[in-house]
Symmetry: C2
């Protein structure tokens, strides 16, 4: 109980990961539990952290969340369809038990910051982190700052071009055939009738997936000019996918963005997470570190 | 010659505008001349500013430009196809004659900053400024900072969905049917056989134009979460266009971005430039002001 740790919460819709760690991204101890209703879940969170002396806590949360510090609902999970979590005052609840600086952001912004500090974008001043899993989400750090604005970005839902031979209608309840509706893990499963992991030997599956992901990445590059593009999440576990995405991004940009990272070093520019599956929890640790420093 | 002014250069591929002005965006004097080769053009720039005592100069330039302060070619116009302007050391040339702080950025980033300081986004901490003219360009200020990264964004060239009934192949030499290739002023002219200004009474022209612009704006909103969206440039002079874009953006987002600016105040969220045709030159003035303050 003498040394001071950082606390980290990776709050997902299906599971929570909590960890205590240090200022270099080390994770000393962690627990994972299913996401139940807020009071039960907070109880478990508090139990876990209680035995540690913490100097700050970082929360990377599923969303949408309110990140506007001037808003009366700052630190809330807002309009989620997830039962009982709508309008949950996440930061307030944690503050009740731990009176330390709290960093709060989206899960993907957290992961982007973690990758920047200790992962694939180490040494850079910015990056984007895209997860292609149950949903598609993207976080961004731009010249050292986490990307916020009117609210937080929702880059997983951009419109992209449908492939002319793709009969799948798309699975997004809001936009049907937006990026997430066409290219998330569940979209792959609905289109092909099998889970992604069971489609490894079907090249057409990954050609089409790369067709969609590359369009999104090309648009992110044209709009944000990120210093590094990191692609993670369950779907990216298919090792053939990343090279296909790189190749198609280069083809789509067609020499327009005259930067050697894109023209000559695409393999170092569009990469896998340096922290692997720890991007999320290390990201929350990074938020704690930032909260403490600010 | 006693009071100190700010100098502003709006450097376009066809014309240069130079102005002297003040710290509240006032323009005291201005000249416009055709863009010739760099040495003749710089001569005219220097002549104009010579008679004023300047404390800083701002340059909003056509691109691509190098904005990386650590780069040996910082302040250059880089790989432009425009004759003789490729690898032109713009900042260096101006510094030779005026040893004052120089602000340098893209024309559209400048315009975004001008609109933020003195125009339609006054009081906000960020905005995007899109010009739909001979080309399509977008500048952005995010939480007070001009958007840079690996290089500067090139948002005019994002991929969007073609309208199924649009037979026009697109006019972008790099991407053919990217946004600029489908929706710039010249694209309109090539598709319909007449200049935009002569197509005012053809509703189908503006429906299609809004179809493309709204997709782009929706993607910018999802990716950047701007606090204000400002649409300028020659094509936006069609007064029927802005309401159509607003309506289609709301329709495309379909309630996903739960912010009252989009749900209830779209007319104040997607707007015309507050500075009108002065956005560019006032933007350069804003860059001068920033350079002086930093
Ligand atoms: N090896 C794999 N190949 C293809 N898809 C996979 C693989 N592993 C997981 N997935 C898909 O990724 C999705 C889960 O993504 P994941 O990032 O693990 O979780 P979540 O997004 O829920 O945090 C599921 O749709 C699953 O089918
Ligand atoms: N009133 C108008 N209606 C429609 N299009 C217009 C109008 N005025 C100009 N344009 C188009 O806008 C383009 C010029 O854009 P502008 O912003 O004025 O210049 P630039 O982009 O070269 O700086 C041309 O293609 C022109 O046809
Ligand atoms: Zn969607
Ligand atoms: Zn293009």
């Amino acid at each position: 109980m003498i040394s001071l740790y950082l606390g980290a919460i990776e709050a997902g819709g299906t599971k929570f990961v909590c960890a205590v760690g240090g200022e270099n991204g080390e994770v000393y101890e962690r627990v994972t539990f299913a996401t139940k209703n807020p009071s039960e879940t907070m109880e478990e969170v508090v139990q876990f952290f209680k035995s540690h002396k913490l100097k700050a806590i970082g929360i990377g949360s599923f969303g949408p969340v309110d990140l506007d510090r001037t808003s009366p609902t700052y630190g809330y999970i807002t309009s989620t369809p997830k039962l009982n979590w709508s309008n949950f005052p996440f930061v307030e609840e944690i503050k009740k038990h731990f009176n330390v600086p709290i960093g709060f952001d989206t899960d993907v912004n957290a992961a982007a910051l973690g990758e920047l500090l200790w992962g694939a974008a180490k040494g850079e001043t910015g990056c984007i982190y895209m997860t292609v899993g149950t949903g598609i989400g993207v976080g961004a750090v731009i010249e050292g700052e986490l990307l916020h604005g009117l609210s937080h970005p929702e880059m997983g839902h951009i419109l992209i071009r449908r492939h002319p031979d793709d009969p799948f209608a798309g699975s997004c309840p809001f936009h049907q055939d937006c990026l997430e509706g066409l290219a998330s893990g569940p979209a792959i499963e609905k289109r092909w009738g099998k889970k992604g992991a069971e489609l490894a030997d079907r090249p057409e599956v990954w050609e089409l997936e790369a067709f969609y992901l590359a369009q999104a990445v090309a648009n992110y590059i044209l709009i944000l000019s990120p210093r590094k593009v990191i692609l993670g999440g369950g779907v990216m576990k298919q090792p053939q996918l990343l090279p296909l995405v790189r190749q198609k991004v280069v083809h789509l940009l067609n020499g327009y963005v005259q930067h050697e990272a894109i023209l000559h070093r695409i393999d170092e520019y569009i990469v896998s997470p340096g922290l692997g599956d720890n991007a999320g929890i290390c990201g929350a640790l990074a938020l704690a570190k930032r909260a403490m420093e600010q």
